[in-house]
Structures are given as C-alpha cells and as structure tokens.
C-alpha cells in the first residue's frame, strides 16, 4: 500500500437530482458515490514477466470463459519493459476472489493486419460472448514520431489473437470503450486520437480531428465478432502529441441508459454529451457541454457509477471527480493518488477506471508504481 490520504472536496453545490438514479435506494441514502468510498487497497503489481509497464485499460469480466473467471479484472500495458510508450503488448488477469494474478495475453508486437505494430491502449472490453477487444496505438520508439495507425485486436478467451478490426474510421483507438452488449450483437464506442497527430515538440499543436466511432458487431456462435456497421457519432475533439504522455485526446467514454454517450474531452477539459448515440446516423460534432473546468484537470477515463453519476480520473492530479450528468454539477473530487513524487501529487498517475462487478467500488491503475488498486 502506498502512502495515501483521502481528501473529499465538495464542489460548488451538492444539490442532487434524483431523476437519474437507477439504483435509487442506495443513492437516496448517500449524496453521491464517492462519499461511500473510504478504503483504497493495492491489489497487485500489473507488471508481467516480460516487464511491460504503464497500466492503462481496466475491464471487468462479465462472464467466465476460457482463462477468465467472471469478475476477473483485465489490465493492459501501454509501455514495454524499457518504458517506451506504445510498445506494450500484454494483458494481465487479476482474480479478486483468489487474489492471484496471471498473464492473460501476450500479443505479438507486430500483427500483419495492425498497421504500425502493437501498443495497447485504454480501449479494452470483454464481451458476454467471451471475446476480448483491445485497442492499439503503436509506436516504434516510444514517441508519436513513429506512431502507427493501430487497430482493434480481437482475442479469444484464452488470450489468443482471433482477428483485428481496422478501417478508415479507426486511427489510434485510445479511450476506454463504452459498450452495449446483447450477447450475439454488441455496440462499441471507440475514440480515436491518431488522425493528423505528428511528432511531439515543446509546443505541439492541438489538432481538432479526434473522433468517436460506433461499431456495430455481429457475433455468431463460436465465431469472432464481425463489424456490420461503422458510424462516426462525434468528431472535432482536440488531440495533441506530447513528449511526456505520448498523446492527449478524448480518453473516456460512458454510455447512459438513455442512449447518451458521455465523452471526456481531455484537451477541452470538459465532459461532453452525445445524444442518441446508439441510433444516430450523423456526427454530433463535439457534443454538448455536461461540465467544464472546475475540478476537472484533464479528464481521462470515464465510468458510470450505479447511481448514474460519472466518475473520471484526472490526468494532472491524483483526483477522481464525480459528476451528476443530469445537472452537470461536479459533486466531489477525491484525491485517490497522493504520491508526492509528482507535482501536484498524483499528477500523471491515474488513467483507467472500472466499476467492480457488484458496483460497490471501482478499480483504478496507478501508473507511477504499476499497480491495480481497489477503491471501496
């Protein structure tokens, strides 16, 4: 367990709307989700035997299949053992009940169908059909100067590559996926941060070409998912090459029950809403502001808590921020990573976030020390 203190700061107003509370009983007794979080437990190192570093994506298994048990936590790595970004190729599997960690997948560094190689991003999900889909935004030298287009990689439940998904709408699939999973069909939302991004400089330009694409999948029994439709539902977000953190762009996606897609716009320091995301046939551009600035400090991964509130991790400090999307109010920020090796504490440490199976807490990664942590 690392040195940690918990700080709950109240945002501008703590008046709640209960109009959007799927788990009303719990929420009615507690003013928001973060106020119920009091413990942070380091679960495991995320570094596999090959030395990969920098954990990014977190996906909680919805079912048991192959090597994975329901409730297992899959975590991928963006960096290789030399800590070069965009060269990580591994996914680990943490079993919360057995408290054990094993390697789930070691993907070849180069796949013929994946332009530029493999460097696993925050885009990862496990479907009810047992397939795991993970994004790649590869580099050959740890910088965007050698960035490739990347792809989505389809793995079977044994962690073996079963296929890839590429196309003109995919370039650097980056942020955590939002998913509507019906078993034999599924809808994925994937953010892209690779369009038009060049080498990082001290003054890299913001390129407003990041997009979010909706992929409709057909999943025949025993066969890998096949894309039946692709629609860009949002575009024009800022993206920026960065010498320190590789790339900055839309990183978090979460799907509300009313079909609204929420997007963390890291460059714009805002959370955006895309209406009718499951059905729309055109792009909504950069969507509507849900909230902006305030407690947000470069929002990254995004997840929806059982009470319908959004949780996002900040890239520029160690805070997770709770937002009520119905009102746009920022309710709390809890300083979950207070590592003073960074200024401000925890800056650059947080990235992926995922709810536990039971919804009573969330998992997050600490990139500074390569660990998976449970907040509960």
């Amino acid at each position: 367990m690392k040195i940690r203190y918990t700080l709950i700061s109240f945002a501008s107003a703590v008046s709640l709307s209960f109009a959007f509370l799927p788990y009303g009983a719990r929420a009615q007794n507690t003013p928001g989700f973060l106020s119920s979080i009091h413990h942070h437990t380091t679960l495991t190192s995320t570094v596999p035997d090959n030395g990969d570093q920098n954990p990014y994506a977190i996906a909680v298994a919805p079912i048991s299949a192959g090597k994975v048990r329901q409730g297992d936590v899959l975590v991928d790595n963006f960096n290789d053992k030399n800590n070069l970004q965009g060269l990580g190729t591994t996914i680990i599997d943490y079993d919360p009940s057995a408290k054990t960690t094993k390697l789930f997948a070691a993907i070849p560094r180069h796949l013929a169908q994946c332009p530029g190689g493999v460097g696993l991003t925050t885009a990862m999900t496990m479907l009810k059909s047992g397939w795991v889909i993970v994004g790649s935004l590869p580099s050959n030298d740890g910088t965007t100067a050698t960035k490739g287009q990347g792809c989505l990689i389809v793995l079977d439940s044994q962690g073996q590559v079963a296929g890839t998904i590429t196309g003109p709408n995919l370039n650097g699939p980056w942020g955590n996926m939002a998913v509507a999973d019906n078993g034999d069909t599924a809808t994925l939302f994937v953010s892209n941060t690779g369009f038009g991004v060049g080498p990082a400089t001290d003054d890299s330009p913001v390129v407003n070409k990041a997009s979010v694409v909706r992929l409709t999948l057909s999943i025949p029994e025993g066969k890998p998912p096949a894309v039946t439709n692709q629609t860009v539902v949002a575009d024009g977000f800022g993206e920026q090459a960065d010498k320190g953190v590789f790339i900055i762009g839309p990183t978090g996606l979460a799907l509300g029950r009313d079909g609204v897609l929420y997007i963390s716009d890291a460059v714009g320091n805002r959370i955006a809403a895309i209406p009718d995301a499951l059905t729309r046939t055109t792009s909504a551009g950069t969507g509507k502001d849900v909230t902006k600035n305030g407690l947000l400090q470069r929002p990254l991964a995004l997840v929806m808590a059982p009470d319908g509130h959004l949780l996002t991790t900040n890239g520029l400090n160690g805070e997770v921020v709770e937002i009520d999307p119905a009102t746009g109010k920022q309710l709390y920020a809890q300083w979950i990573d207070v590592d003073k090796a960074q200024t401000p504490p925890g800056s650059g440490d947080l990235f992926g976030i995922a709810m536990t199976s039971s919804g009573d807490g969330f998992y997050y990664v600490e990139d500074d020390v390569n660990t998976l942590v449970l907040a509960h």
Partner: protein
Amino acid sequence: MGNCPFSSRRGFLGATGGLLAASALTGRAAAQVAELAEGNPAASAVAGSISSDGKVPFHGVHQAGIDTPQQTHVLFASFDLVTDKVSDIVRLLRDWTEAATRMTAGQTAETLTADPSIPPADSGEALGLGPRRLTLTFGFGPGLFEKDGKDRYGLKARRPAALVDLPRFNGDQLDPGHTGGDLCVQACADDSTVAFHAIRQLARMAAPNDAANGYGGKKAGAANPYDAKPGVAVLRWIQAGFLPDSPPGETPRNLLGFKDGTQNPGSPYPAERAQGKLIGNGSFADAVWVGGEGPDWMRNGSYLVVRRIRIALQHWDNVELDFQEQVIGRKKLSGAPLTGGGEFAPLDLDATDKDGNLVIDDNAHVRLGAASSNGGARILRRSYSYNDGLAMIAERWPPWRQGLEDEAGLLFIAYQRDPRTGFIKIFEKMSKLDLLNQFTTHIGSGIFACPCGIGKDEFVGQKLFQAI
C-alpha cells in the same frame, strides 16, 4: 540510510538494509569503528586489517575489500574472457595475484627497469602515493563457467549453484555496456588515482598484445615485447565511484542526501522491531561468507552483486522533505528511523500513528529492505556514489520528464553468502513496490563469485583450477 541495497560505508558496522545503504569506513573513521565492532570478524581478519602505513594485506582467509572498512574511491572493472585456453586464465590469475600483491603494498605492478627500449612496466601515475588502503577483490562471472551454452574451459561442472544468472527485475533498463562480465576486479582506495592505476595495470596485463601491430602493448612477463599475443581478457565495462570523506564516526551520505549504511551485517546495534521481536543485523558468518554449503574454493568467499543505479536527482531535489523521508523511512538530517530514537535505533516496523497507519510506510525503502520483510535475508552493502556527467534521459515515471539530466547515482555493491537468499530475494519485491523506484533506474548489473582469500603462495581462485 538503512536497509537499502544501496548501502552504507558502515561496512562491517552494518547498515539497516535496503539497496541504498553502504558499507565501510574511511581511514579516519576506521579505528573508531574497529573498536565499536569488537568481536566482529572484520576487526580481526587479516585481509581486513589496516596497517599504520595504509596497507591492507592482500593475503588472508578472506579477500580484502569485502570486510575492509570502506575506502573513499572505487573503480569497478568487468572483463570478457577472449582466450579459449584455461591455461591462459591460470597464467593471468598468477600474474594478477603477483601484481595485486605488489600494488596493495604501494609498489608498481611489476619491477621497473631502466631499459629505454621497451615500454615501462608500470604506467607510473601512482608513483609515490603509497598504498592508500588499496584493495583488489577478484570475482568470477557466470561466463567463466559457461557462455552461450559452451563449456569453454571445462569448468561448467564446477559452477556453484549459488552463482545464478540474475533474473530480470521489474523496471530494469540494463545497458549491455554496463552489464555482465566473465571476471571482475573491484579496486578500492582512499585515492582515486591509486584505484585507477591498479585497474589500468591489470587490464593491460590481460589485454591482447598488439605491439606487433604498432600499438605499443606488452604482455606481462613476455620476453619479447613485440611478440603479439591474442590476450586473455578485455575490459567490458568500468565504473568509478566515490564516497564523501565524512568525519570520523559519521555515516556517509549518498546522493539522495541520506545517510547510507547505518545498518549492515556485523553491526552491534539492533536492526529492527517487527511483530514484537527485536532482531539484530546478523553476522558476517551468517550473511556474507560462504560456508560449508559451497565448493571449497568459495568457502570464506562471497558472492558479489553490482548494480549501476541512476537516480533522478533533479526529480528528487524537488520533492518535499517529508515525502523524501517517507520514501526512505528515516529522517534526512539525523538518519534516525521515522519511528524515533537516534540514527542507530532499531526500525520499529510495527509502530502506527493515532489513525492506525504504519509510521514507516508499507512501501518505504527501509521496510522493504529489512530482514524481517524478506524472510531474514541480509546482505552486506558496500556501495559508492557515481557521477558520469550529463545525459539525455527519459524518466520512467510520471510526469515522464525528458531532457539533459545528471547521469549519476549509486554503484550498488553487495556481498552475500548466497544471492538467491540475498539480493535476489530482497530485490524481487523491492523492484516492484519500493517508493524509491520512482527516482531510481537500474541500468547496469553483474554477479560474480569472489573466491576465498589468497594464501601466501597461492593465486586468486587457485582451488577452482586445481582439479582440471
């Protein structure tokens, strides 16, 4: 600082674990420490003793330079063997033994002659400096026994089980140019020129004699200086290191600014309190010297692990003092454990604050290095700081700063009875969890079997080669 695999100069006085914690003592501090260490083997061992003229005897039960109070300079040299004949190695070790005996006594590597027609037998830069407590400690790397699957010298069967290849540790960014080696020599002295001179002579004796090609080499003892020879071993990497010449009785500080080496095997002070038990630092016999479990040539020898550890000094210097102290687990100025007392007070690994949180954090460096955190594992840390100027560095921690930074840190040197239950056991966990990892990167590495001490008529490692 205690408990680090970086270690302290307290050497036989013993440090409190951790990689950063170092070993022996400067000359001025040595006598005082020797008194404190009464009853310790280091105080009476022939090789570790110091004569008034600054000589550390080369011959003894143990090799000098392990339990010797730590000098202020080191030059660590690693060699690749380039010969295919074991007889060449034996001859080299004989030559090295003879030269080491002379140089540790303050003499030239070979007798100087007045013949103006041949290169001088000694390069001469240390003339008149005296021995300056020079010690030369020799080690055998895995490559002497087996290299690329080949048993080059018929020694494979004699490779000690404890001489394992070091595993890859989390965060390792090892540079092949600072890693490995078939032979090593640790030259320590209270003068950097004396240490450099010693390695320079030994390397020259081992190197190919390319005089015939007009490059001016000379093989030790060769009748014809122009008789080209292929050589026995060539330098693979070298690292210089230094310690502050701290006042007598003061534990020297490393580049983190912390005292390094408050605890080590042989310390008369208790090391730590854990789970209600107060435990000591262990003895050299327990932790450092190979016993009956090893082959005869290793008994009273020790296994050396060396790591070149870069420290992100610019990063560290901008970290709050209280966080620096939490990372280490000790107070910066006094060296005392965060749990109270003076520098040599035991770490209280059980102590909690009013909220029930551990005073010395779970991931604090001293806790992770403590014997009680590692199944009793202890090592002798005998490390030095290093500074190799500036280099373009991409830090491996958030916020991933990149730029021209100090290429400086710690030349971690540890001696132990068995690396499998010593450094490897300690660092396997430490490499994953230590808060200090956010400031340190291991960029060089080596493991060597340092054979037993050398008798008057023996050469280094003689017992190893006797049976073949």
